[in-house]
Symmetry: C2
Subunit: 346 residues, 2 copies
């Protein structure tokens, strides 16, 4: 993709420093200090300046930074890292390197604040360093997962979903955080259509002009011609055929134990899976902890590294910034594509 | 394990040359010509001598061999490869490098003959070079899979199952070739118990004194404390606890997307999975085509390379013998363990 010609064309991405108990502040500050994303996005840190300083100390970096009251006040012609200081998290009061419900509550508060900024058009995308999901839940943000939290807070209606990005390909889900029994019941032509269209649109927003999408089977051996279940015959194949006829570059159904072997060889840009573990077994084996999780299909893009808060290495200055950088690049790319799309519509 | 002290103590393993259309004859003859398994088992080729000769030509080997009418006639003090010549497959009449229902029918006939030999006590284990499963089916051996064929032909009653062996670990199944919906319905304390006990016994028969067995969850995130399904709470954990109390070294339930990451790091000798694709997604990504499939739990052990007939390289002399060698070693080991066990009982 062409680089933004001038600073005003680069999307504004809000970066949340992650749970203060974990490695989030450290990887955020080290990455920002490197300046590597300057040409890609205008990144505004949104959180508490004391957490930002803590991250700098963890990372052993001293980048110039400047506190602001609000995003709209940021002077983007200046070179310091802008930190919108919410003054809501005092690191001195939270024990690090372990789960804290209080910290989870504050993480949720900060995310809520950022979502309001996005809805007001002040930021075009949200990236967040690792959160502790149990902390978020115990802190009172009681959603089955953060994607459903974001959908609720952005008042989204309709299909949306988690995209998991690894080096070789990205996965999309027809069903996600439900029991396997319920997943089987939920698989329908409507949901398959929605998931494949979401995959297509999201991969296009990521700069792939004609994404190749593999659609997984539900049953072993793709149902073995109807012998082990008929969803492939009654639902998946007809839906894939319809979507193909409508111009989407999709193929399927493809057996679970074949589709990821093909995907890892580069045959697909995206894999649409019928149930959570179908894709997670594969991506976790293929190094998903270096990957990125995206909430796709909402008006605002949300991205985060797939790895966690890594309590065992907090404050040791050795956490890797690769996945967070990737998460920010995806947020910037998708926010730009979205802005371009909106420009077309106007 | 100690090596068999003398030739009589080595188990007699019947080796079927596989589908004549594929690479089976070539890898069988090349492996036997190498003599590498001489100290492990007494291997009797059971099939057609013309197919054996064809394999030698494919492999470019000329090992000394000797035809016999029946296994009981074999003089094991001789050094030639013994070939029990069934005179049932004329390679001149079958086109190679493609699926042939006629060849499938003959493969089934040969397996049936070998099963009768095993039931009569003339051979202690059966290994077979790659078969074409569709050919077997179209040739009239209409079973959902070969394991069910072997169970039916050996008149087995009770639980049995497929074991898939890769370098790092082996998998066992609570359910197998049924729809995902039926798999969810079939998971029960009885089946979990049977599968874990089968894993334990089979791994012990493979020389692992105290096998470490990981038991997979059924639902995503292991049910997330009952939020996404309760089989982990109502069934899997209590069953695992009971088995542990009974001396089996098992752990679980462990989430699908965690258990294989642990297994590949060496934490388990065996993984018991709830449904077919749970394990197959993982093992196929981890190079299962170099692995071995075992039919476990029947009176006779059956082993075969996990890879197929490889029609694209038939007759080119480049097929690898590694997986077939591994399959024969497992058959020999399990047949020996079984004989030892039988000795104890008497």
């Amino acid at each position: 993709m062409p680089m933004a010609a001038n600073i005003e064309q680069r999307p504004v991405i809000g970066l949340m420093l992650g749970d203060v108990t974990g490695i989030g502040p450290e990887i955020s500050t080290r990455l920002l200090a490197s300046g590597t994303l300057k040409d890609v996005a205008r990144i505004a840190v949104i959180g508490d300046a004391r957490v930002f300083e803590l991250g700098c100390a963890d990372a052993g970096v001293k980048p110039p930074w400047r506190a602001y009251e609000k995003v709209s006040a940021i002077d983007w012609s200046r070179t310091e890292i802008p930190v919108v200081d919410l003054r809501n998290v005092d690191p001195a009061k939270i024990r690090r390197g372990e789960m804290s419900a209080e910290s989870g509550r504050l993480s949720g508060d900060t995310l809520k604040h950022m979502i309001d900024l996005a809805l007001a058009g002040e930021i075009q995308g949200i990236s967040f360093a690792p959160l502790n999901k149990r902390a978020l839940h115990e802190g009172g943000w009681k959603f089955p997962d953060e994607h459903q939290m974001f959908a609720a807070l952005t008042k989204h209606e309709g299909f949306f979903g988690e995209m998991n990005v690894i080096k070789e390909f990205a996965t999309f889900r027809v069903t996600s955080h439900v029991s396997l029994r319920e997943a089987v019941n939920l698989v329908s032509p409507q949901r398959i259509t929605a998931a494949v269209r979401l995959a297509d649109a999201t991969l296009k927003a990521n700069g792939i002009a004609n994404p190749r999408i593999g659609v997984a089977a539900l049953n072993p051996h793709s149902g073995e011609g109807g012998l082990f279940g008929d969803e492939e015959i009654t639902m998946i194949r007809p839906t894939v055929d319809e979507l193909k006829a409508d111009g989407i570059n999709c193929t399927g159904p493809i057996s679970s134990d074949v589709i990821f072997v093909k995907a890892v060889k580069g045959e697909y840009d995206g894999v649409v899976m019928m149930y959570h573990d179908q894709g997670q077994i594969a991506t976790k084996l293929l190094g998903f902890n270096k990957g990125v999780t995206v909430t796709a299909g909402l008006k605002t893009v949300f991205t985060t590294p797939a790895h966690g808060t890594a309590y065992d290495i907090v404050g040791k200055g050795k956490a890797d910034t690769g996945a967070l950088e990737h998460a920010l690049r995806i947020a910037a790319r998708m926010a730009s594509a979205c802005a371009k799309e909106a420009g077309k519509v106007k």
